[in-house]
Amino acid sequence: MNAHHDHEFDRINAALDRLAESERAAAPASLESNVYRASRAALRSGGAPRPRIGWGLGLRLAAAAALLAGTIGVISTLNRAGPQPAPAANVTAAAFETWLALDDLFDDGFGTRLGVVSTDADRLSQPDTEEWDDMEGSL
């Protein structure tokens, strides 16, 4: 049974095999069952974690979607209501509200980006408003 083809070690090889057999026999009869019981939980729990959407994140996403839908609805209504003073400013302001609401929901990481967006938006809305005032004055 050994890969060595010379026979000089046959007896010692056979003795080692008997020794190994006696080591295996030293195990309790229930060894396999015990090992199985101890390890099967690891097999179940060790599975690759699947991405899971928890209730907290799910609720926040739903709230964000509802806010976004509401904002779009308001904007649409305003647009349908006829000419508005500085519609761009209104749209921007509504967008701010949405972003701010989102910021409350996702309090991590959004703050900085919102700050940049709101600054940009302020810059955008300012000339529109002034232009409108100028036009009103001239009328």
Binding site: M1, N2, A3, H4, F9, R11, I12, N13, A15, L16, D17, R18, L19, A20, S22, E23, R24, A26, A27, P28, L31, E32, N34, V35, Y36, A38, S39, R40, A42, L43, R44, S45, G46, G47, A48
Partner: protein, 208 residues
């Protein structure tokens, strides 16, 4: 569930068919309990024998065997087993490492064995007062093994207790096959000379 693996009762060098073993491993890694049970049935006793050979304590050997399989189950199901086609080498590497750690923890050193110790093992009488010649010679062999260097002993244990082929042992230890065969040969020669030395001493004792 793949077809059942034939239980290769731990004859060294006889490994289950690689393809079927791979199927069973894949099923086990998907969490199939029956497949995992087969793996345990196939290897637990061999791992136990390897560990028991080192620690000589069945309770500790069982504990270590369980922890080896817990580790392997976890790695299998998390995709941590990446050595395709080398499951046995991988399993026994985990077992060897765990056994070594446990031995270190217990600060149990291999006791250098001289012929007198081996002779004492031969004379030892079992609890019921009856000791077969075979039992005595196994004890003597066990004692002689503890006189081997750690690398030599590992090869013997992996080969005979773990039932691995030389190729698998070479994979496991990361050594060339030639080196491994030479080491096995050297270990056998040393064991034989220790056992024969004891037998000669006994004969001389009797002839006086």
């Amino acid at each position: 569930m793949p077809p059942a693996l034939e239980r290769t009762d731990p004859a060294p060098g006889v490994a289950p068919d690689d393809g079927r073993l791979a199927d069973v491993l894949a099923a086990a890694s998907r969490g199939e309990a029956d497949a995992w049970r087969e793996i345990v049935d196939l290897y637990a006793r061999r791992v136990f024998a390897l560990v028991h050979s080192k620690c000589r304590r069945p309770d500790l050997a069982e504990e270590v065997t369980q922890s080896v399989f817990v580790t392997v189950a976890g790695k299998l199901s998390r995709g941590g087993y990446t050595e395709r086609g080398r499951f046995e080498s991988w399993l026994f590497r985990v077992a060897m490492n765990r056994a070594r750690d446990e031995m270190r923890r217990l600060a149990r050193q291999a006791t250098p064995t001289d012929p007198a110790t081996v002779a004492a093992a031969l004379d030892r009488v079992s609890e019921n007062g009856v000791r077969t010649r075979d039992e005595a010679s196994l004890d003597a062999l066990r004692e002689a093994m503890s006189g081997l260097s750690e690398p030599d002993r590992e090869v013997i244990e992996l080969r005979h207790h773990g039932g691995l082929s030389f190729k698998q042992i070479a994979d496991l230890l990361g050594e060339p096959m030639g080196t491994l065969l030479a080491r096995h040969h050297r270990a056998l020669r040393k064991l034989r000379s220790m056992i024969e030395g004891v037998a000669r001493a006994e004969d001389e004792e009797k002839s006086r």
